[in-house]
Symmetry: C2
Subunit: 243 residues, 2 copies
């Protein structure tokens, strides 16, 4: 299938649903057949990424490699991973992969640069923070990265795990306060640098699309561009105003 995009998902499942939904809603299509072809692995037994990186937990790399191979075998020509923390292993996965891969950190940073803002807030997992997945790129561009303090970061993690356990309302209440704190400390725009966060803050992002960079959204927009280039169809355009 020309242009088939493989999604290495399940990290977590709700974030993978969010990515899939954005593929459907960001594509202008008049009928089923004009939508982007996707093959989605949502096999969630991949070990917790933050646990692996910060608490000597089991490495998720072997299962990620295994499921990535399944997607390749099914004919995927490009692979995306809707989990920021998993991008710690991006280069290793790319080395084993025989098709294109798009990095969510790169697609998100491209959208950050388009905003021309200088003070960039960041909501992400402890591991994404600790590994500096975003901070390094932000600082390389001479921008200022504003991250939650230690107590706030604990609440960010609490909110993420609340969503993973199905409690969206409680997750939203906590995460909203953490976003407000970053704005009060001078953030002009906030990177939602964990794919659970755009699910948690969906109402906020809808109300104030220009205040957030949704990492999942950026990955979907970049994937649609990849598909357009691959199949040469120019009628597939992006409907979001975050450009």
């Amino acid at each position: 299938m020309k242009g088939l995009i493989g999604v290495l998902g399940g990290m977590g499942p709700a974030a993978t649903v969010d990515l899939f939904n954005k593929f459907v809603t960001y594509t202008i299509a008049n009928k089923d057949q004009e939508h982007i072809p996707l093959i989605i692995s949502s096999i969630p037994d991949i070990p917790d990424r933050t646990e692996a990186l910060l608490n000597h937990g089991v490495s998720p790399l072997p299962l990620m490699t295994n499921y990535l191979k399944k997607l390749e075998d099914a004919g995927a020509e490009c692979i995306v991973i809707p989990c920021n923390t998993a991008h710690f292993w991006f280069d290793e996965l790319k080395n084993t992969c025989h098709v294109d891969m798009l990095s969510i950190v790169e697609t998100t940073m491209q959208e950050v640069l388009l905003t021309k803002k200088k003070n960039i807030g960041l909501l992400a997992t402890n591991a994404t923070m600790y590994m500096g997945l975003y901070q390094k790129s932000i600082e390389q561009k001479k921008l200022n990265c504003i991250t939650p303090d230690e107590e706030s970061q604990k609440l960010v993690m609490k909110s993420i795990y609340l969503l993973k356990s199905g409690n969206k309302d409680a997750a939203e209440e906590i995460m909203k306060s953490q976003a407000e704190l970053l704005f009060s400390r001078g953030a002009e725009v906030i990177i939602l640098g964990c794919t659970e966060v755009p699910v948690i803050l969906a109402n906020e992002v809808k109300k104030h699309p220009n205040k957030y960079i949704d990492s999942t959204g950026s990955l979907v927009r970049a994937s649609i561009h990849w598909y357009e280039n691959r199949v040469g169809k120019s009628h597939l355009i992006i409907t979001e105003n975050l450009k």
Copy 2:
């Protein structure tokens, strides 16, 4: 992967997102790893099912068979298809398939019988209506099937294709009136017998869950039961009140 469920989707993509979302929200899970493992094909170039059945269009069967095989090759142990009209070819697909398959028509009818209602409304595509996918089962059970009249059925189809082209609000307005008409003609409960319809009427179903049988929801609930039996985990239960 023990218990891996394959989803033969893309018919249409929004309905497949809806199914995936229901898998995540109907499963009680405290962490990613407790969710149901899924491999989802959303390759939407499968020819239109209604066109094939009513207007001598290209048959969707060869591509459905092909994508079903991909899911089997990826390790799926049970296959589900979130498209009612596609179930016209269910037996042919089952004959080529080496693993379990659950029929959306059967899972929906099981939930219809649980309601103990006698007057069953039906919202579905022209082809599902014409082929009698639901009417036959309903009449076998000595129940009364109430379907839209010819003019109303045209509006049902218009609403379904509006959703497929991304216009949910217009689709909702039309479909809501058609549901009201069926209730005014004596329907006690309405089968949403096309997987686009629960997406279109999502707000209505949320308000009045006992007035509708959501075919997608029934397929997800049956799939979760299948998974529980397969892996022997009893903590996976169903949160919906439609039981």
